[in-house]
Amino acid sequence: MNDILAKLLPLVVALVFAPLAMGIIQKVKAFFAGRKGFPVFQMYRDLYKLMHKGVVYSRSTTWVFRLAPLLVLGVSLIAVAWLPFGGLRGLFSFQGGFIFVAYLFGLARFATLLASLDTASAFEGMGANREALFAILAEPATLLAFAALILTSGNSSLWGAISWGQESSFAEFGVVPLLALVSFFILALSENSRIPVDDPTTHLELTMIHEVMILDNSGPDLAYIEYASALKVWFYLVLMANIVTAIFSISGWAQILAMFGFAFLLASIIGVVESSITRLRMKKVPDFIGSAVAFALLALVLEGIL
Amino acid sequence: MLLIVVLITDLTMAANSRLGTCINITAIQGFALGFLPLAIGLEKGMSFELVAIAVIGIALRGILFPYILHRSLLNSGTSRELKPIVGYFLSVAIVLVLIFASLWISIRIDFIAPQLLLLSTVALSTIFVGTFFIVGRRLAIMQILGYILLENGIYCMGLAFVQDIPMIVELGVLFDAIVAVFVMSVATNKIHEEFEHFDIQKLDSLKG
C-alpha cells in the first residue's frame, strides 16, 4: 500500500506544482518586460474561475469536440504519473514506456486537432494544420532523444536510465545525456507552444498554433485544457531536471530538493528565452525543431561509437 | 563449254536493260543447263533418268519459262528497265566480283572433286547473280528472272554436290519451279492491271 502511495507521489507533485511553474515563467517574462506581472499563483485562480463558468458549444461541433478536453487532460495525467521524479518512481514503468507515453501524447494531439477542425473555423483549421505539420519533426526528435538517454544507460525504461546516473560517472557518457537534454529543451519549447515556435500570449490569431486551436473552448473544457498544458510543461521540466540530477549524480533527499530547484530554474530559463528571442517565421520553425532531431541523432550516433 | 555459256549469260543479263533480251538470255541459259545432265551422262554413262531430266529441263527452262515471261511482257507493254536500283555498269562489276567470289568459295570447299570445280563456281555465281537481280532490279519481271537464275544455280549446285537425287525429288523441284514462275507471272499481270506499272519499288504502301 505504501508502495503504491510512494509511486503516486510524482503525480501528486505534478498536480500541485504544475500551475506554479507556469506562474514562474510568466513572472520571469514580466520581469524582463519591466512589468510587475501576475502573481505566480494566478493560474490556480484562473482554473478555479473557469471551472465555475458555463460552456458554449457551437452548432457545428459534435461529440468529438466534447471528448477532446477530457482525453487531453487524461493523457497529461497519465504522462506525469509515469514520469519518475528524482528518486521517486512513477506509477508504472515498463520497457518502452516512453514510446507508449509519446504515443499517448499523439492521441491527445489527434483529439485536439479533430476538435479544432470540428468547429468549422478557418483559424482553428489553420492552427490544427500547423500543429500536425510540426509534429512530423517533433515526434522523431522525442523518441530519438529518449532512446539516446535510455540506450546509453543500457536499460530499457526511463526509470533505469535515470537511476543509472548514480552509479556511472559524468565523463564516461556525459555528452550523450547532455545532447539529449538540449534536444528535450528545444522540444519543451516547441511541444508546449512557447516562443520561438508559438506565442501563447499573442493577440494575432493568424500567427498562433496551439492557442488558436482552442479558441472555441470555454468553461470547464478550457480549464481542462489549460491544466493539461501546464502538466505537459511540468512533464518536460521534470524530465530535464531528472537528466540534470542524473548527470550530477545527486541522490537521496537532496535529489528531491534538487529536482524542484532545477525544475523551477528551467522554468525561469524558459521565461528568459521567451523574453530574449522573437518568434520565428512559420517557414523557419521546422529548422528549429529539426535541430532537436539533429541533437538527438548526434546523441544516438555518439552512443553507438562510444 | 555449257558452263561458260551460263557464266556469260549471267554477265550479259547484268548489262542489259531490255526485258525481252533478258528473257532470251535466260532461255539460252536454260538450254545450256538443260544439256548439262547429258554432258554429265557422257562422262559417267547415260541413264534414262538423266535423259528424262534433261528433256524436261530443256522444255521448261529453255522454252516454257521464256514463253510465259514474254507473254507477261506483251501484256504489260514495258520494254526496258530504265532506272535500276543498281546501275548497269556497277551491276556488271558486281557480277564479276560475285563470280570470282564463287570461284574462291568453290576452291575453299574441300570436298568438291576438281572436275566439278567449274560446275560449282557456275552454280554459286548463278545463285548469287539471281539474288542480286531480285535485290537490285525494280521491275517485277526482272525479279522473276532473278528467281529463275537462282533456281538454275541451285540446279547446277545439285548436280555438283549431290549424286543420284531421286527422280521424284528432281521432278518435284522442277514442278515447283514452273508453278512458281507461273504464279509469279500471273501476279505480275495482276500487278500491271492494278497499278499500271511493274515497279516493285513503288509497291510500298504496307509499312510498320
Binding site: - | 570436298f111 533456281e151 545439285g158 554436290f161 537425287i165 531421286p166 495482276k190 492494278e194 497499278f195
Partner: protein, 518 residues
C-alpha cells in the same frame, strides 16, 4: 494407304470443286474435304500412338509422334475450323462469285495437301518441294480482286518466300552432300533418318552451313525475324480464314522443317536420356544442357524475333498486323523453346498447340470484326463489344490468351518454358524473353481493354449503360462462328488446368521422336 489419303482427299476435293456448279457447292466440297483431312489425321495420330513410327516407300514418307502432333494441329485445330469459318466468312457462297469460290477452294485444299506432305515426308527433298508448293498455293489466297494492297502483300510473300525457300533448298542439297560424304548412298542422303544415323560422321562445318541455309530459308517462311517482313503484310491483307490458316499453321509447318534438322546436331543421344515420363522433376534433372551451335543460332533468331515483334506490336495500329507480329513473337517463343534442346521441347510442343488455338480464334474474330466494322484499325475496334459481342469478346479473350493470362494454357506453356530455360541456365535469353513478352502484354492488354469496354469512336456515352448483350445491332452470328471462336478458347481454358494423361504421354513421345528419331 493412309498417307495416300492425305493426298487423295484434297485431290479428289479439287476435282469435285472443278465441276461444282455454285460457289456454295464449291465451299461445301471444300468443307467436306477438310473434314476428311481431319478424320485422316485423327486416324494417323491413333495409329502412331499405337505403333510408334509408320513408314512407307522406304522412309520416303514417315510419321512419328512429332509429325502426328503437328498433323493434328494442322488438320483438326487449324484447317477444319478455318474451313468452317471460311464457309461462313464468304456467306456460305453468297458473298462471292463461282470463279473465286472455285479458285479459293482448290488453292485451299492444295495448301492442305502441300503442308501435310511436308509434315509426313521423311525425305528432305520432298519436304522442300512441299513447302515451296504450299507457298505457291497460298499466294493467291492472299489476293482479293480489286484490292491493290493485297496484291502488293502477295507479291512480297511470293518473292520473299521463294527466295528464302530457295536458300533452304541449297541447305537441303548441302545436307545431302554432307550425308554422302558421311557414306550415304545416293537417295539415302536425302532421308532424314539415315542422315541422323550417321550424324556423328557428318562434316561439322558443312552440316552447319547446310543448317544455316535451311534455317534462314525455312525461317523466312516461318516468319522469324529479320526475314519476317512479308508476314504482317500478308496476314493483314488476306481474308480472315486465310490469315488464320497462315498464322495457325503455315508458319508452324516451316518451323517444323527447321526443327527436324536440329537433332542432327544434338551432342548426345537426344531426348532419351532426358526423358523419363515427362515428369517435371526428371525433366529438369536432365544433364543435356550443352547446346549445339545449331541451337545457339536458332536461339539468336528466336530472340531477334521476340525483340523486333515486341517493338512493332508496341506501336501497331492495325489489328491484323498486330496479330501478325504476335505470330512472329510466338514463332520466336516456339523456336526459343526448341533451341533449348530436349529440355524445352515439351514446352515448345505445347505452345505450338496453344498458339494455334488462340491465333485461329483471334484471326476469326478479328476478321469478322474487320468485315463488320469496315476497318482493321484497332482504334475502330474499341467498344465493339457492345455491337458485336461475339467477335469483340472473342478477339479480346484471344488476345488475353495470347499474352499468357492464366488460366489459359498459354500461361502454362510459358511457365514450362521459363522453367526449362532456368533448367538450361540460359538466363540472358530468359531476360530478353520476359522483357519482350511483358511489353507485348502491356500493349495487347491495353487493346483488349479498349475493345471490351472503351466507348466506340464517335460515341460519347456508352450505347447501353449495362453493356449487356441486348444492345447488339450486327445481327446474330451463325452458330458455327460461336463454335470456331468459342471452342478453341474453351480448349485453351481446359488445357490450362487439365492435362489428360494421354496427352502428356503423347507429348513425351513426340519429344523422343524428335530428338532420337524413334
Amino acid at each position: 494407304m493412309l498417307f495416300g489419303g492425305f493426298l487423295a482427299v484434297p485431290v479428289f476435293g479439287v476435282l469435285l470443286i472443278l465441276v461444282s456448279k455454285s460457289s456454295r457447292q464449291a465451299l461445301m466440297i471444300m468443307l467436306a474435304a477438310a473434314l476428311g483431312g481431319a478424320l485422316l489425321s485423327g486416324i494417323l495420330a491413333a495409329q502412331v500412338a499405337q505403333a510408334g513410327v509408320i513408314e512407307v516407300a522406304g522412309g520416303l514418307f514417315r510419321a512419328d509422334h512429332f509429325s502426328a502432333w503437328h498433323m493434328i494441329i494442322l488438320a483438326i485445330i487449324v484447317f477444319l475450323p478455318s474451313s468452317v469459318y471460311a464457309y461462313t466468312y464468304f456467306g456460305g457462297g453468297k458473298g462471292i462469285d463461282l470463279g473465286y469460290a472455285k479458285r479459293f477452294g482448290m488453292l485451299w485444299l492444295g495448301a492442305f495437301a502441300a503442308m501435310s506432305t511436308a509434315l509426313l515426308s521423311g525425305n528432305i527433298g520432298i519436304m522442300w518441294v512441299a513447302i515451296e508448293a504450299s507457298t505457291l498455293f497460298t499466294a493467291f489466297l492472299i489476293f482479293r480482286q480489286g484490292n491493290a494492297a493485297s496484291l502488293e502483300a502477295m507479291w512480297k510473300y511470293i518473292i520473299m518466300c521463294s527466295v528464302g525457300v530457295a536458300f533452304a533448298f541449297i541447305g537441303t542439297l548441302l545436307m545431302a552432300a554432307a550425308g554422302q560424304q558421311a557414306g550415304l548412298e545416293g537417295g539415302d542422303s536425302l532421308l532424314l533418318q539415315k542422315i541422323y544415323l550417321v550424324r556423328g560422321a557428318l562434316k561439322p562445318s558443312l552440316a552447319l552451313t547446310a543448317f544455316i541455309f535451311i534455317l534462314v530459308g525455312y525461317g523466312t517462311k516461318a516468319g522469324l525475324a529479320p526475314m519476317h517482313n512479308w508476314l504482317p503484310d500478308a496476314h493483314s491483307q488476306a481474308p480472315g480464314p486465310v490469315s488464320a490458316m497462315f498464322s495457325g499453321f503455315l508458319l508452324n509447318a516451316a518451323l517444323y522443317c527447321i526443327l527436324r534438322f536440329l537433332p542432327l546436331f544434338s551432342p548426345s543421344d537426344g531426348g532419351a536420356s532426358v526423358l523419363q515420363g515427362g515428369e517435371a522433376g526428371s525433366m529438369l534433372a536432365g544433364a543435356a544442357l550443352a547446346s549445339s551451335k545449331a541451337q545457339i543460332i536458332l536461339m539468336g533468331f528466336a530472340l531477334l524475333s521476340l525483340v523486333i515483334s515486341s517493338a512493332f506490336i508496341f506501336f501497331q495500329k492495325d489489328a491484323k498486323r498486330m496479330l501478325a507480329y504476335c505470330s512472329v513473337e510466338h514463332m520466336g517463343i516456339i523456336a526459343f523453346a526448341y533451341a533449348l534442346g530436349p529440355i524445352g521441347t515439351i514446352a515448345g510442343l505445347f505452345h505450338t498447340l496453344n498458339h494455334s488455338f488462340a491465333k485461329t480464334a483471334g484471326f476469326f474474330s478479328a476478321g469478322s470484326l474487320g468485315k463488320k466494322l469496315h476497318t482493321n484499325e484497332l482504334a475502330g475496334f474499341s467498344g465493339a463489344s457492345k455491337r458485336y459481342p461475339l467477335y469483340a469478346i472473342g478477339f479480346a479473350v484471344s488476345l488475353l490468351a495470347l499474352i499468357g493470362v492464366a488460366p489459359f494454357s498459354v500461361f502454362m506453356s510459358e511457365f514450362m518454358l521459363v522453367s526449362s530455360t532456368v533448367a538450361a541456365q540460359r538466363f540472358l535469353p530468359l531476360a530478353i524473353f520476359l522483357a519482350a513478352t511483358s511489353i507485348v502484354f502491356l500493349v495487347m492488354l491495353k487493346h483488349a481493354i479498349a475493345i471490351l469496354w472503351k466507348n466506340a469512336p464517335g460515341e460519347e456515352k456508352a450505347v447501353t449503360p449495362d453493356g449487356a448483350p441486348g444492345g447488339m445491332s450486327g445481327g446474330v452470328p451463325p452458330i458455327s462462328e460461336y463454335l470456331v471462336i468459342g471452342l478453341p478458347l474453351a480448349f485453351l481454358l481446359v488445357l490450362g488446368l487439365w492435362m489428360p494423361h494421354g496427352l502428356s504421354d503423347f507429348l513425351t513421345k513426340a519429344l523422343d521422336s524428335l530428338w532420337s528419331m524413334k
